[in-house]
């Protein structure tokens, strides 16, 4: 399974539907402070089933919904869809027939999140297991948040050991 595309709609500052193509090799993401770069990583972790709003720089999961600006009203829903290229048919048996697998997460204000895999309702757990099976997921050590390196450096040795548990 390979990551092919990430689509954000109403997620934090990405109020308009936005497609990020994930191509092979090295893709740089640039822009001024505060323009939304870190929000992209949060959207990826969110659709993969991140359950802790604190790790999303939020005070509640509803905080990921576009909260409006001076010229635009806030939204009531946010959705992120990740499209996986499964042409190597390495997905879990349940989804492995498909050439592409779409995983989506949609949140409605004060009504929680709903997940879908290829259009069928799924639980957060199903989504988390699907990505864990592909050696990735919201807590993958390969997803390095801004400031996470400083946290690792100043972490107590006991907390640092947890990074090994990811590898075990």
């Amino acid at each position: 399974m390979k990551f092919a595309r990430l689509r954000l709609s109403g997620f934090k500052s990405f109020v308009e539907p936005t497609d990020l193509e994930i191509k092979p090799g090295l893709t740089g993401v640039v822009g001024p402070n505060g323009c939304g770069k870190s929000n992209l990583l949060e959207a990826l972790r969110w659709v993969m089933g991140e359950s802790s709003y604190k790790s999303m720089r939020a005070t509640g999961m509803d905080d990921v919904i576009f909260s409006g600006t001076k010229s635009r009203p806030s939204r009531n829903t946010a959705e992120v869809v990740v499209t996986m290229d499964n042409s190597d048919h390495s997905a879990p048996p349940m989804y492995n027939a498909e050439e592409t697998i779409e995983i989506s997460r949609r949140i409605e204000r004060e009504a929680g999140s709903a997940y879908r895999i290829n259009g069928k309702d799924a639980r957060a757990r199903d989504v988390q297991l699907l990505f864990a099976d592909a050696s990735t997921g919201a807590r993958s050590p390969a997803l390095v948040r801004q400031g996470q390196i400083s946290e690792l450096i100043s972490a107590k040795p006991q907390n640092r050991r947890k990074i090994l548990e990811e590898a075990a």
Binding site: K2, S13, I22, G28, V29, V30, C35, L41, A142, L143
Partner: protein, 162 residues
């Protein structure tokens, strides 16, 4: 559980030692389990010396040396079980130009070892120049983000926009 953690430790430690030497062009680094005989409740310490310097714990290295060493550890874990996607959010911030170059060399080396797709968020012109492609994030309308495909020259201008 205990056995698996120790096996993981050995594999990560081996990768870590090799990656450190590549990133620092010499020197030596190793991981240590401390504070407990039981690996499941031990702490993870990092002992490292850049070339020509004496070995010390991670906390005594310079800011940039610490960041580069931590990157070696993260990729050491990564190599034991490469993920299909890797996103690095401004990990090159504390690095000088020379070390940014070595960091990019390591990314190129990772490309050869796995099919991982990388998203590298950066403010560094040198890093941008080493990417296969660039996406710019802008806020033409305040508070509203948009994604655009950019070439290197546009990226230069984008970095400096307000």
């Amino acid at each position: 559980g205990r056995k698996r953690l120790l096996e993981a430790f050995d594999r990560v430690n081996e990768n870590f030692g090799e990656l450190f030497v590549k990133l620092f062009d010499g020197g030596r680094a190793r991981l240590e389990l401390i504070e407990s005989d039981d690996p499941l409740s031990a702490g993870l310490e990092i002992i490292a010396n850049p070339p020509g310097k004496r070995p010390t714990t991670l906390s005594l290295l310079s800011g940039g040396e610490q960041a580069l060493t931590a990157m070696a550890l993260i990729f050491a874990v990564f190599l034991t079980n490469p993920s299909p996607i890797c996103v690095l959010d401004e990990v090159d911030a504390p690095l000088d130009d020379h070390n940014v170059e070595r960091f990019c060399n390591m990314l190129d080396a990772m490309l050869e070892k796995s099919e991982t797709r990388f998203l590298i968020i950066t403010h560094h012109a040198l890093t941008m120049a080493r990417m296969n492609r660039l996406f710019g994030v802008t806020m033409m309308e305040r508070g509203v983000s948009q994604l655009v495909s950019v070439d290197l020259e546009t990226a230069e201008r984008l970095r400096e926009a307000s």
